[in-house]
């Protein structure tokens, strides 16, 4: 009885996830996109601090540069983290998406070992490297906050 209920819940969760993923895919494949929120925060709003980017610089050199290169240009096996391909592929996404992507897939041999703060510091460095402005306050690693900051290639 109990296991049947668990199964039912699992099925519900799986169905919900599948539906959600199918819906988002459909949205991407359709030819229109809804209007964006007018006053949302973006990476143009000085969302990290210079000091944090410095910390991120050190962490990047230690953890990331071996494959992504010191100048973020990437290599045969690792994508670039600067330039139009990088900015284009993240434009329109939230910083929570970027944080999740790094957290769940990097480094490729032992994903999940980097701390949330470490990742957000590296993100600050990546933003600085790509020319997005620094501000007074550091970027927090709280998902709810990161979700409200949009990565945008073009200044809104």
């Amino acid at each position: 009885m109990r296991s049947r209920r668990v199964n039912a819940v699992l099925v519900l969760v799986v169905v919900t996830l599948l539906t959600a993923s199918a819906a988002s895919v459909d949205a991407m494949m359709s030819w229109s996109r809804g209007p964006q929120h007018q006053r949302e925060r973006t990476i143009w709003d000085s969302v990290y601090s210079a000091e944090q980017a410095e910390r991120g610089d050190s962490a990047y050199k230690q953890l990331c540069a071996r494959c992504h290169m010191e100048n973020l240009a990437g290599s045969d096996e690792a994508v670039e983290l600067t330039g139009s391909a990088f900015v284009g592929s993240w434009s329109g996404q939230s910083l929570a998406d970027l944080h999740d992507r790094i957290r769940t897939s990097m480094p490729t041999d032992t994903p999940g070992v980097y701390g949330r703060q470490q990742i957000v510091d590296v993100m600050a460095y990546m933003l600085r490297y790509n020319g997005f402005p620094a501000g007074a306050a550091p970027l927090t690693h709280e998902s709810d906050v990161l979700r409200e900051i949009r990565f945008l290639a073009r200044r809104p």
Binding site: V25, S30, G83, A85, T104, T108
Partner: protein
């Protein structure tokens, strides 16, 4: 280690019988089209060919062509393609993958491919995408330590007409043979269906089987009854040691898994080429594998190996001499593995010009003479062509004097060979003329940014990095320029080759002394401390000028470029840039490794970057070009960049295109397109 095969055979039977009905209907309504009818019984009698609507080998055939004569999808209808099915790969491993680079195979109405972070093998109903079986190996620490992890680029199919096998290499470097019907291991192959590629070697893989650095993410090449396996390592810009495991290439019996031969890409003492490693450095040097696809001529019984760099991508002071067979095209005998001929493309490699693309076999006519040729696309954007029987260059080679560098301990080759034809199809060296010049102000800013670097033509050597400059030699090619692993496509009817190329993949060839304890190399890739930002962008714009990426068509009978067109939408970062407002910027194309497919009438390739251009959604585009003129004739949206090479097949009388997409926030997915059913058009 554990493994699992999930077979859904009862379900498959149901699907197949359903498909048979669809086949009958499709055959009736599409009767006028010249598509080959493809049955779904499996295994079907061979030989399988793209002409028969199959895609039986990674590049369509073992010749590297990525060509199919199917013609149902054409310029007239490409824009009306619709999604037939999608296969998301997230659950084929403990986490999603964002780097799906596979090209599937299709034989007998079944699609086989690799996918997911554990490189699972799946068999799908080629008409619907429904999973028929899945095989996955959990290799634990050995898989995690792989220098070439993730889903890989594909697999191989073999059949003797009675039974059929799927062969692939795991991230942990084991060759697995599966029953194509069920996904179960073939017990009579190797040890219970597996050959441990770290054990079947002439020299032990160090330090141990679990962490010993060697792997392969390419698809095995099966030619006649021989499986040929390459070897790959970690990126070699800053290796831990100038000693490393060596990338021997091996042939195995496809029936038994027995090792038939081993070709030493670094000659052993007494073997030809040993003396091209001065001071006995052949004893210590490693790498020099083949990490890309291997090509075979089944009729001639010859195999073509595109060999990578020896240890130390940018510093060769520990291996003085020309270093055969580093960065050489080597032709060996399929049965014995013995060398027939070789040509070293780069002597004493110090630029990371790994031979990255599969050689392409092309039977051409030059000045009235038939030549069985092999054409080699390269990172240099130069197409090297040889008579594939004799190794003689098709077009004369010029010995070009190249600059001698000043890195202490380095050994420099005084000249490098460059063919007089065809002309380079991509940028290789970088001079001031190659820099951004949209406006005078941007040109000035570009020159200022480039002033930190040493510029020069192809084969300008790496420099010791200095904070006050030069930080590095700035060039295009070594990282991802020219042609890389997706290679090219070749049309055997018209003798035209199609090559995608990147003109804007800047590389910084700077050397530094390694950090204490990090390496026993004298120098490794890096920037001098205190150098500041050493980027290749100017206000977010690429430092190199467009076109950033192109597709070129080259007539191999005369070596002339027939057409060349930018490939890919102008990136958002360029199209929307404030400094470019009011300027008419021609389409720039995009930088990125792009696989192409050539069919009866079209060249097909997807964008390697995401853009947002109304009215289509944010994403990429799968584009079709008229193969004779290069004119773009249609496109369909992709939700993410093309990350594997497109392929095509026919089933139930309908032609399909399948392409892998992934990148950035979008995890790996195969998408199949076909035309709407006739009744719904």
């Amino acid at each position: 280690m554990t493994f699992a095969s999930v077979s859904l055979v009862p379900c498959r039977r149901r699907v197949l019988s359903h498909s048979s009905v669809a086949f009958a209907l499709g055959a009736l309504s599409l009767g006028a089209l010249s598509l080959a009818s493809v049955g779904v019984a499996q295994p079907a009698p061979g030989p399988f060919t793209t002409a028969g609507g199959e895609w039986p080998s990674h590049t369509g055939d073992t010749r590297g062509t990525r060509y199919s004569p199917l013609d149902q999808i054409s310029a007239a209808n490409f824009g009306s393609l619709e999604v037939a099915w999608r296969f998301k790969t997230d659950q084929l491993g403990p986490r999603p993958e964002y780097k799906l680079e596979g090209t599937p195979l299709v034989v007998g109405g079944v699609l086989y491919t690799t996918a997911g972070t554990r490189r699972a093998v799946v068999a799908l109903d080629a008409a619907t995408g429904e999973m028929l079986w899945m095989h996955s190996e959990n290799e634990g620490a050995r898989g995690a330590a792989s220098p070439r992890p993730l889903s890989g680029r594909g697999l191989a199919y073999w059949s003797d007409g009675k039974s059929a096998r799927i062969l692939y290499v795991t991230p942990g470097y084991r060759l697995i043979a599966l029953d194509a019907k069920t996904g179960a291991r073939i017990p009579s192959f190797g040890v219970n269906g597996e050959v441990d590629l770290k054990k079947e070697v002439d020299d032990p893989i160090l330090p141990d089987l679990e962490t010993g650095e060697i792997g392969y993410q390419g698809a095995p090449t099966v030619a006649r009854d021989v499986v040929i396996i390459g070897a790959a390592f970690r990126e070699g810009g800053a290796p831990k040691s100038y000693r490393n495991n060596r990338g021997d290439i091996r042939g195995f019996d496809v029936r038994t898994g027995k090792r038939l031969w081993t070709f030493h890409t670094i000659p052993r003492k007494g073997e030809f080429g040993y003396d091209t490693w001065l001071n006995g450095s052949a004893e210590s040097a490693g790498n020099t594998g083949v990490w890309t696809q291997i090509t075979a001529d089944e009729e001639l019984g010859l195999v073509y190996l595109p060999v990578e760099s020896p240890t130390g991508d940018y510093y060769g002071g520990h291996r003085p001499g020309n270093n055969l067979f580093g960065e050489s095209l080597v032709c060996i005998d399929l049965r014995t593995g013995k060398r027939k001929w070789h040509y070293q493309i780069v002597r004493h490699p110090i630029w990371d010009f790994d031979l990255a693309a599969a050689p392409i076999l092309a039977d051409i006519t030059v000045d009235g003479a038939l030549i069985k040729s092999v054409a080699l696309p390269t990172k240099q954007g130069i197409l090297y062509m040889f008579d594939r029987v004799t190794g003689k260059p098709v077009w004369p080679m010029e010995e070009r004097e190249v600059e001698k560098g000043e890195v202490p301990g380095e050994w420099y080759a005084p000249t490098q060979p460059i063919p007089v034809k065809p002309l380079a199809y991509a940028r290789n060296g970088v001079t001031l003329d190659d820099l951004i010049d949209f406006t005078p102000a941007l040109k000035e800013a570009g020159i200022a940014a480039a002033s930190k670097f040493k510029l020069g033509p192809i084969y300008t050597p790496p420099v010791l990095s200095q904070a006050e400059g030069p930080l590095a030699t700035f060039t295009n090619g070594p990282t991802n320029g020219g042609s890389n692993w997706p290679g090219g496509s070749y049309d055997p009817e018209t003798h035209i080759i199609y090559l995608s190329a990147t003109n804007a993949s800047p590389s910084a060839l700077g050397l530094v002394t390694p950090a204490k304890g990090a390496s026993d190399m004298d120098y490794v890739r890096g920037f001098a401390p205190g150098a500041g930002r050493a980027g290749f962008t100017v206000q977010g714009l690429p430092l190199l000028k467009p076109p950033y990426g192109t597709i070129s068509a080259i007539n191999l009978d005369n070596g002339e470029i027939v057409w060349q067109t930018p490939h890919g939408e102008t990136p958002d970062a360029v199209r929307n840039h404030e400094a470019l407002k009011g300027l008419a910027i021609a389409r720039t194309g995009q930088a990125g490794s792009v696989g192409t497919l050539v069919t009866k009438t079209l060249v097909i390739a997807g964008d390697p970057e995401v853009t947002t251009v109304a009215p289509r959604p944010r994403g990429a585009v799968l584009r079709a070009y008229d193969k004779m003129s290069g004119k773009e004739v249609g496109g369909v949206p992709l939700p993410a960049p093309q990350s594997g090479s497109p392929m095509t097949y026919a089933v139930n009388g309908r032609q399909y295109l399948v392409v892998a997409v992934s990148g950035g926030p979008y995890s790996g997915e195969y998408i199949a397109f076909r035309l709407p059913a006739p009744s719904t058009r």
